[in-house]
Amino acid sequence: MTVLAIDVHGLVKRYGQRTVVDHVDLQIGTGRICGFLGPNGSGKTTTLRMICGLLTPDEGNGTCLGEDIIAGRDAIKRQAGYMTQRFGLYEDLTIRENLDFVARVYGLADVNRQVSDALARLGLESRQNQLTGSLSGGWKQRLALAACVMHQPKILLLDEPTAGVDPKARRSFWDEIHALAAEGITVLVSTHYMDEAERCHEIAYIAYGKLMARGTAEEIIAHSGLKAMVVTGAGADRLAPLLRDAPGITAAAAFGTALHVCSPDADAIRAAVARVLKAQAGLRAEDAEPTLEDVFIHLMGQATDNAVAA
């Protein structure tokens, strides 16, 4: 059995009447990259904060790196790197000053060398005396990551690290995360991007505070029991609104000129597709693999139903 870097059970966090995180269990093995997905306001940030000791759970318990998430808060902070959703470094300090500060707070030996190394890895040596506020979004994210790995944490908690960052910067960001994981660092990263989810070893999907699915991308798709079809041909994409409210259909979305339809019910799909084919001549339909996005939209729908039923 692998050693668990994160092992939490039944985490609950309430704000007033609202339960933001509702009995979430999460186990992540050492050296794994776990993608944390879910709609906005589903409790991803709150869960991350509870794991790294920034919030006290109302219920539940667990460990992070073997330390209790409540009693061992200080020990966790020393060994974890947490990258906040909003840029958390000081915009009115230079790049080097920010790194100096972080290095000193963690009590690193030889601050100067460590910071120089970090700057070299980032390729920011020539701009080290520039104000941090003048960096572009992509650079800020890379700097923030560099700042939170300088003390060689055993675990990284990244809260939507690539929001609003261009594809090239995202790509290099993820290369870096994989390199870190190869060194044995455990990573829990929240994201909205499906391509990023697919780059994770495993995925945890949370909606309305409840953990809805766990596993690899393939496992999650396989377990969802969803079926999908794709309709191609001129103007197929414009027929999406026709199917959105069709009975039993989870999602009908245009992808370029193709129309992608999915549902847990194969008959419902066939019925819906038949309607489309009848509505317009010259279209072709064939079976397709449901995507991760289909699964998440499906899960979100289920969670909404639960929330309404409760």
């Binding site: 000791g53 020393r78 958390g88």
Partner: protein, 376 residues
Amino acid sequence: MSGFSRRLWAMMTKEAHQLRRDRMTFAMMFVMPIVQLVLFGFAINTDPKGLPAAILAYEHSTLSRSIISAIGNTGYFAFVQEPQSEAEADALLQRGDVQFVVTIPGNLTRNVMRGDVPGILIEADATDPATTGPALSAVNAAVSQTLARELTGVLNRHQAGTQAVEVRLHRRYNPEGITRFNVVPGLLGIILTMTMVMMTALAVTREYERGTMENLLAMPVKPLEVMAGKIAPYVIIGAMQVFVVLVAAKLLFGVPFVGSPAVFGVAVVIFLTVNLAIGFTFSTIARNQLQAVQMSFFFLMPAILLSGFAFPFRGMPGWAQVLGETMPATHFIRIIRGVMLKGASFPQVANEIAVLLFMLVIVVAVAISRYRVTLD
């Protein structure tokens, strides 16, 4: 509606909605004027009565007693001490325990009967001329009236219009009664209160507003370390401010500095730290920078009005004096006036320094308990 008035309306409603959400600002706008009106309306009195005085009597006779009671009857003097020697009386005055020392010379009655004009000495702590002024101007008339009534028969050797006893006024520490000498050291206390509290009042709120607090909390830095780290640089800035004010006070106004720079330095450092810690506490309470600034102002007003800076401390009613005692500026101003103008030594200001230290401990304890290590 025209385009202008529509857009104006849009702006106005937006501002009104935002203001309505900011409960604290809203409360301050209504509570502050009322509190201040009541507080300062009742507390401020520029004609202080019942000032503590010591009587040093070398003769106890009918005449001396009636002179003392005449002085007391002006209402300005409250005899609370009866020192046995000149040195003891001096110490009382220097520590600020009394505002006046009245000395009745020996052989008073005999000298009056012989037709000499003996002198009654009234020494005043004139560091604040506003406090002593009205008392000193009332005392002469009161004494001569009493003498005219008392000195009848054989005692009345003097012609009408001449004085049997001379009242000599001695304005100590500030013989010319220069108001500036009193105002400048007091101003130092006020300037430091204003700048220091404001500086750190923004310290924590700024971290929250800029979104850097979460990152800071995720790192292994302890509340006391955050607080001390945020305060320390401003102690140095405050010390520089003090230096600038002192040089300006000397060059522009010729304010004397007769006491010990070391005692002065100790008091300054403690006072700076207390104020910075108060500002830090505000910043743990305020939700945004505007609120923090408002709290600083709310704190500054009584520091100006009730600390003895702007109005005589002893002129205020008891409750206002109690309130004044709770403010660091009150104690600091006493120490600074004592050291600069009266040459007070460490033991003479030790009590006030102890009070400042006590305040420091309390404020730091409150600040640390208010500082959250989580985002809960």
